[in-house]
């Protein structure tokens, strides 16, 4: 069942930014423009999480939170507050109100997702092909080598999805006697933190399962990876054939 998230913000912009942040996850997003609408919607849908702005007309976020905490059926719903003000007094006030977390604007969607994941478990959206379909999307067997084909855009949802699939795939590989894995980054032109995390994750899983591991992709990407401490020692080849030859 989809996770229900309620975003309460008078700014359509922020509601859209929140919506974008959750787009790759199995989330049913509900929107309200102020505290009055937010409370009514919270009572109706009983969300799993509320992302609540402070400064709003009609009823602000602080008032809505007070009313939420006073209502037995709503008081346990986790709340992440959004605020444009990072001043010490403001932060102390928010913390004392009993919210689960807060975010100071400006913020990136990934930062919001990180906070959310500390409170509730997010699953990649089923439209992205979780489960067996998802495994087929990323994994392909090439003779005695398991290829892990990485999409061109790698964000947290992709890392989470591959991480979820990897344990079962490793078990399957080891059971079938497949002891080589190539992480194919042929579609990736530049690195980001999610890609680095993915490489490290796959390298660690291969090591612990006794599977030999190499990475392939454009040489410029390989050069870039050499510059990161986490990936500087990762074996990199410019093509799958070269990687296979190195593993032979």
């Amino acid at each position: 069942m989809s996770l229900k998230v309620l975003t309460v913000d008078d700014s359509k912009t922020i509601r859209m930014v929140v919506k974008r942040a959750f787009k790759d996850y199995d989330v049913e997003l509900h929107e309200a423009e102020n505290g009055v609408e937010g409370l009514a919607l919270a009572s109706k849908i009983k969300p799993d999480l509320i992302v609540l702005d402070i400064t709003m007309p009609v009823m602000n976020g602080i008032e809505m939170l007070e009313k939420l905490k006073a209502e037995a059926s709503l008081k346990d719903i986790p709340v992440i507050m959004l605020t444009a003000e990072s001043g010490k007094d403001n932060v102390m006030k928010i913390v004392k109100m009993g919210v689960n977390d807060y975010m100071v604007k400006p913020f990136k969607g990934d930062q919001l997702i990180e906070r959310v994941e500390k409170i509730v478990k997010l699953q990649p959206s089923s439209g992205d092909g979780a489960g067996e379909g998802g495994a087929a999307k990323y994994f392909a067997l090439d003779q005695d080598v398991q290829l892990l084909n990485v999409p061109d855009k790698v964000g947290r949802p992709v890392v989470v999805e591959i991480e979820n699939l990897l344990a079962a795939k490793m078990k399957e590989m080891v059971g079938a006697g497949v002891k080589k894995l190539i992480l194919n980054l042929g579609k990736n032109s530049q690195t980001n933190m999610s890609l680095i995390k993915l490489i490290v994750l796959v390298a660690q899983r291969c090591q612990s399962s006794g599977v030999s591991f190499r990475v392939t992709g454009q040489q410029s990407l390989g050069d870039e990876l050499k510059g990161f401490q986490e990936t500087s020692a990762i074996p990199f080849d410019a093509s799958i054939d070269q990687a296979k030859a190195a593993m032979a």
């Binding site: 008078d10 700014s11 359509k12 912009t13 922020i14 859209m16 930014v17 974008r20 400064t55 007309p57 605020t83 444009a84 003000e85 990072s86 001043g87 010490k88 007094d89 403001n90 100071v104 604007k105 400006p106 913020f107 990136k108």
Partner: protein, 159 residues
């Protein structure tokens, strides 16, 4: 109030604006020292928020319509032809001004000048100027982002 006299106010406004451009818009903006001739001519949008409390004032961001549209696309992850009208653009510029104002307000509160922030206000049109008088401190900075410019202005006075 000497802290307001040594350029700190401008630094605070500049940092707040650069943070918003970087974080929310993924735009590489940097300070440019001179406001070019004619910057205030033509179609523009001004987002402003006010401070009220132990210190009073306002902060504003000025951008032209094309840049405002580009900022809207960046903030909402949309293509230019997906933007249906000025409402979305105004909402984005309002939110940008709210975040810049929020950054400045936080600094003022931490300096011992508690104040409240208003909801954002948008002024848009062609060939208008906004005159602001009787403020004790006035600072402005200009940001360059590719071929576009934005100006951030801040006015303050104490009670």
């Amino acid at each position: 109030m000497t802290d307001f006299d040594d350029g700190k106010l401008k630094d605070v406004a500049l940092r707040a604006a650069l943070d918003v451009f970087d974080t929310m818009l993924s735009m590489d903006a940097r300070e440019t020292k001179k406001v070019p001739e004619g910057f205030f001519n033509g179609s523009k949008i001004v987002g402003s928020v006010s401070f009220t409390g132990d210190v009073m004032g306002c902060s504003r961001i000025y951008v032209n319509h094309d840049f405002a549209k580009e900022m809207t696309c960046a903030m909402l992850g949309m293509e230019p032809d997906e933007i249906e009208g000025d409402e979305e653009i105004h909402d984005v510029i309002g939110e940008v001004s709210n975040m810049i104002g929020g950054g400045v307000k936080s600094h003022l509160c931490d300096m011992g000048f508690p104040c409240q922030l208003s909801i954002p206000n948008i002024t848009s049109g062609t060939n208008f100027t906004i005159e602001t008088r009787q403020w004790a401190w006035h600072e402005h900075c200009c940001l360059q982002c590719a071929q576009h410019l934005a100006m951030v202005e801040i006015f303050l006075k104490t009670k």
